[in-house]
Amino acid sequence: MIEIDNVTKWFSEKQVLSGITEIIPDGECFTIIGPSGQGKSTLLRIIAMLDTPSSGGVLIDGNDVSHAPLELRRKLGMVFQQPVAFKESVYDNIALGLRYRGFRKDTIQYRVSTILEQIGLLGYENRKAPTLSGGEMQRVSLARVLVTEPDILLLDEPTANLDPVSVQVIESLISSYHKTGHTVLMSTHDLYQGQRLCDRIGAMMHGTFIQTGSPKDVFTRPISVEVANFIGVSNIFDGMIKGFDDESMMIQTEFGVLKGKKTSSCSQKRRSEFHIGERGAVSVRPEEIKIYSVNEKGNIQDNVFSGLIIAVAAYGLLTNVTLDLDGATLTAQLRWSEVADLDSSSRDHVFVHIPSHAVHFMSL
């Protein structure tokens, strides 16, 4: 278990980590996401004992890392963003950690061959490591760590700038390593990777975890506009809470009153903390927005607005439709077939329905 206790880190005048506290239990896979230069690597390096915090501490299994004996160090493994190639053969590169630990030759032989197969580089034993491509070398770097079977696997943007095959091999190894009960702590700025591989995500900005939670939590209920922007949530508007009723709250926005479910608010902020008159931001998930032509409006009551289609753009198998609602710009994401349906009638004037579960209120 990793306990991070109020860790701060200054580099000269610049504060890189400003008070991080977090517990990562055994066997969890935790991803740190966030923009570059915000401290992700620094935190990992501190846990890996390559740097020391300016204040605060890290405990691993109850042991303070600043006074850690070698055995504790050897429970960790770390893969860096840059592939690391020693001027040796691939075999010797991978075997390095095992040799440090004094393993026997046949054990080393067995483990190295096994992992070579797992990373798809069987037959590469005698190749000189510096001749490998970046992706191949990063696989070797991961293998070098995995053969020592560390309890905790640390990874700092392990697949940044790699070819797709290597990314896939590495992700699959990380995933299976996690599934065999090991703790994994990873940083990435590929949100979807974090979502694929891990149990929990922590969004790090300004040197601290602004939000932690399951991937679903973070993506669907970002705690603040800043997180939302980073995650790529669109459709953010100013909003003010006008009132509550049993299950919903009414939010005044520039294009009208939105009814949002109380429970759809960020679970990290208790509902009782929201009060009438509170200003904040509202986000609307684009994939939930429905567009109806004038004729099809039907019986839907709440959250229906009239709008104009300004633009339509393809987005893979989906289509992004940009709408103008009384001056506010909203992006909806529809399936291709839904857009085609609109073709038959007038496309310009439409009704836009925002289901209340797609509305999310967050603080600024």
């Binding site: 040796e88 010797d92 390095l96 040799r99």
Partner: protein, 309 residues
């Protein structure tokens, strides 16, 4: 990493092996068997010591080795003061007297003499052939100031030859400092006798040499003897024991043996005939028996040294 360290170790092992295999060459004899002499370059460059050294070793036997450092009188006396050598063979009476007076040396014996000679290009641009030494120097100085073909190369190294050169300038009426700054015609080489002759030869300049070295090198040079006669040119070689009181590790017994060896009739004979076959003329003269010529007492050339009980 354990693998692939073997070749590096093999390489290192080979090096160490090479060193040990060649150790016999380096095997040094113990100190009491080594006689360390500091000598003037003229005694070494002529090859005289190459004859005397082995002869002494053969006579004394017992793994005794004679080693000499050929640097020049000034440096040799320095070594003597420091106790780094056992004995010095030099040729500068004035400096030797001071050395003895200061207590750095104990006994001195004169074992050989020859003459200095002013040598120069055959063309003799200063026209000083046959002059008295001091007059020749004077003329060279005056002509050198005006005629760029007249040059003088000096040892410039506090050797016995250099001291004599300075003495001649003095008797010609000049302060040495003035000569040094007189002009480009005066060149201070800072080298041994053989090298200085080579330099003078190359430049077509005059220089003062001892007769022995000049004769030995004459075949390779275009220089000729310009001035051979004059009291100023007498060159006396002496051997001085370093004072063991200053440096107890000095090998006095061997030093005494060497000096007595030098004074022995056989060796005096060797000295007096050295070079005749090769150069047509002896490069040195034995001191013993010629005390009148060189104005020293018989004791100085003949009285054997005794090892203190």
């Amino acid at each position: 990493m354990s693998m692939k360290r073997e070749p590096t170790y093999v390489g290192i092992a080979l090096l160490i092996l090479t060193i040990f295999l060649t150790t016999p060459v380096m095997g040094e004899t113990f100190e009491d068997k080594v006689l360390m002499i500091a000598t003037t370059t003229s005694l070494d460059d002529t090859g005289l010591l190459d004859v005397l050294g082995p002869a002494f070793e053969a006579e004394v036997g017992d793994n005794v080795v004679v080693q000499w450092l050929s640097k020049g009188t000034g440096v040799s006396l320095e070594y003597g003061k420091r106790g780094d050598v056992d004995l010095m063979m030099v040729h500068d009476r004035a400096a030797e007297d001071a050395f003895l007076a200061d207590g750095y040396g104990t006994d001195r014996r004169v074992f050989a003499y020859n003459y200095f000679v002013l040598v120069g290009p055959e063309s003799d641009p200063a026209g000083v052939a046959g002059m008295a030494p001091a007059d020749a120097f004077d003329t060279i100085m005056e002509m050198g100031m005006e005629d760029s073909s007249v040059q003088f190369v000096s040892r410039g190294d506090n050797s016995g030859t250099h001291s004599r050169e300075k003495a001649i300038w003095k008797s010609a009426g000049y302060e040495y400092a003035d000569i040094q700054s007189a002009g480009d015609w005066y060149i201070e080489g800072g080298q041994g006798m053989g090298s200085t002759l080579g330099m003078a030869d190359e430049m077509g300049a005059y220089t003062l040499s001892d007769m022995g070295t000049f004769l030995a090198y004459r075949g390779d040079l275009d220089l000729v003897s310009i001035v051979e006669e004059g009291d100023d040119l007498l060159n006396i070689y002496s051997a001085i024991l370093v004072n063991p009181e200053n440096e107890p590790s000095v090998n006095t017994p061997l030093g005494i043996a060497w000096i007595n060896f030098l004074m022995s009739d056989e060796v005096q004979e060797i000295i007096s005939t050295y070079g005749v076959e090769e150069y047509g003329k002896a490069l040195f003269n034995g001191a013993k028996g010629n005390e009148d010529v060189i104005a020293v007492s018989v004791d100085e050339t003949s009285l054997p040294l005794e090892i203190a009980a």
